[in-house]
C-alpha cells in the first residue's frame, strides 16, 4: 500500500511538471516580439561662440586720451564679449573639452605694436577664471567635461602702465574649443 501511494504521487508530480512546462512554453510564445529599435550613439559635438551671434568678428575698443595714457589706471574695453562653449557626447563626464586662446599677434599701428599681454579680463562665470593674455598660443582658459555648456561675458581691460606712440592699434585673438 505504501509503495502504491508513492507511485501515485510521482505521477501527480509528473503531471504538475508537465503543466508547468506547458505554461512556460505558452508564456514564451506569448512574449514573441519582432521589432527592435536601435538608437546609435549621439555624434560628439562642440560649439563655440565668441562675441556677437552670427558671422563677423566682434571688436573691443579701449579709448585713451593724451591725459590718461600710461597713468596706471586700467581702461575698460567695450563691449563685453559673450563666450559660449558647448561640448556634447554620449556618456556623461567621459571626455574633456578645452577652450584655449591664441594671442601671439600683437596689436599693430603702422610700425608700432603693443603686446596682447597688456590685456586682462574679468568674467561673470566662475568656471571661466579671470586672466591675462599670455601673448602665446594655446593658453588654456577653461576645461570642462561633457556634456555641458559654459557661458560667460568677459570684460576686457587695458593695463595702461606704459606710454606707446599715438595711433590706433588693432589686433586679433583666436579662441579654440576642442574635445579630443
Amino acid at each position: 500500500m505504501s509503495t502504491c501511494n508513492v507511485s501515485i504521487q510521482c505521477k501527480l508530480r509528473a503531471s504538475v511538471l508537465l503543466t508547468a512546462a506547458l505554461f512556460c512554453s505558452v508564456a514564451d510564445m506569448r512574449h514573441a516580439t519582432a521589432v527592435t529599435v536601435v538608437v546609435a550613439n549621439g555624434t560628439p559635438q562642440i560649439r563655440l561662440r565668441v562675441g556677437a551671434a552670427g558671422a563677423g568678428i566682434s571688436l573691443v575698443t579701449f579709448t585713451l586720451t593724451a591725459t590718461n595714457a600710461g597713468n596706471g589706471v586700467a581702461i575698460n574695453g567695450a563691449p563685453n564679449i559673450t563666450i559660449i562653449a558647448e561640448a556634447r557626447g554620449p556618456v556623461a563626464n567621459a571626455r574633456n573639452a578645452t577652450l584655449t586662446v591664441n594671442s601671439t599677434a600683437a596689436m599693430i599701428s603702422g610700425a608700432d605694436s603693443i603686446p596682447m599681454s597688456v590685456i586682462t579680463w574679468t568674467t561673470n562665470d566662475a568656471t571661466f577664471p579671470v586672466g591675462t593674455f599670455s601673448g602665446g598660443a594655446g593658453q588654456v582658459l577653461t576645461t570642462f567635461q561633457n556634456s555641458r555648456r559654459r557661458t560667460t561675458a568677459h570684460t576686457f581691460r587695458y593695463a595702461n602702465t606704459q606710454i606707446f606712440p599715438a595711433g590706433t592699434y588693432n589686433g586679433q585673438v583666436t579662441y579654440t574649443l576642442s574635445m579630443p
Binding site: L12, T19, V35, V37, V39, A40, G42, R88, P90, S147
Partner: protein, 162 residues
C-alpha cells in the same frame, strides 16, 4: 495528493486567467525586425542651457509598423497598451528615456510613455486576426545614461474588457 491537486488547479487557473487578462501580443509578423536610427542633439537657442538640455538626444523613428496577432481576441472588447520595458540594453540607469509616438492608424491613439510604464493606445472591439499599427516614434534620451547604442523593444499588451 491534495497538495499536488491544488498546485495543478492553480497552474490551470493562472493559464486560464492569463488568457482572458493582460496578455503580451505577438508582433512577430511585423515587417521590420530591426530599425536603426541616429539621434541628434536637442537644439536650444538659449545661451544658458541647462545641463539636462545640453545632454538631451532626440531620435526620430518614422513608420514603425507592427502586425499584432490578435486572432485570440477577435470580436472581443479590449484595451491595448504600448509598453516600454524598464530594461534597455545600453542604458546605465532607467531614468531619462521617454518615447512619444504619433499614431498613423486611425483607431490607435498617440501618446508618450516612460521606461517601465505602459500607455493606452486602443480601446474597442478587436476586428481582425492581425492588427496593423504604424507609429512615428520620437525618443528622447538623456545621453548621460547612455553607455552604448540603445536597444528598445516596445511591445503591446492587451486586456479583455467586458
Amino acid at each position: 495528493m491534495k497538495f499536488f491537486t491544488y498546485i495543478t488547479i492553480m497552474l490551470a487557473y493562472m493559464l486560464c486567467t492569463d488568457c482572458i487578462g493582460q496578455v503580451r501580443l505577438d508582433d512577430a509578423a511585423s515587417p521590420r525586425a530591426r530599425v536603426e536610427v541616429t539621434p541628434t542633439w536637442l537644439e536650444t537657442d538659449a545661451d544658458e542651457a541647462s545641463d539636462d538640455e545640453v545632454n538631451t538626444l532626440v531620435a526620430s523613428v518614422p513608420n514603425v509598423e507592427y502586425r499584432l496577432n490578435t486572432a485570440t481576441f477577435l470580436n472581443k472588447n479590449a484595451r491595448i497598451y504600448l509598453v516600454l520595458p524598464q530594461s534597455v540594453a545600453g542604458l546605465s540607469s532607467a531614468g531619462g528615456v521617454r518615447a512619444q509616438w504619433r499614431s498613423k492608424s486611425n483607431a490607435f491613439l498617440s501618446g508618450s510613455v516612460l521606461l517601465g510604464a505602459r500607455a493606452l493606445v486602443f480601446t474597442g472591439k478587436v476586428t481582425g486576426a492581425l492588427t496593423t499599427v504604424i507609429f512615428d516614434y520620437t525618443i528622447t534620451i538623456d545621453s548621460r545614461a547612455m553607455m552604448r547604442p540603445l536597444e528598445f523593444r516596445p511591445y503591446f499588451e492587451i486586456d479583455i474588457t467586458p
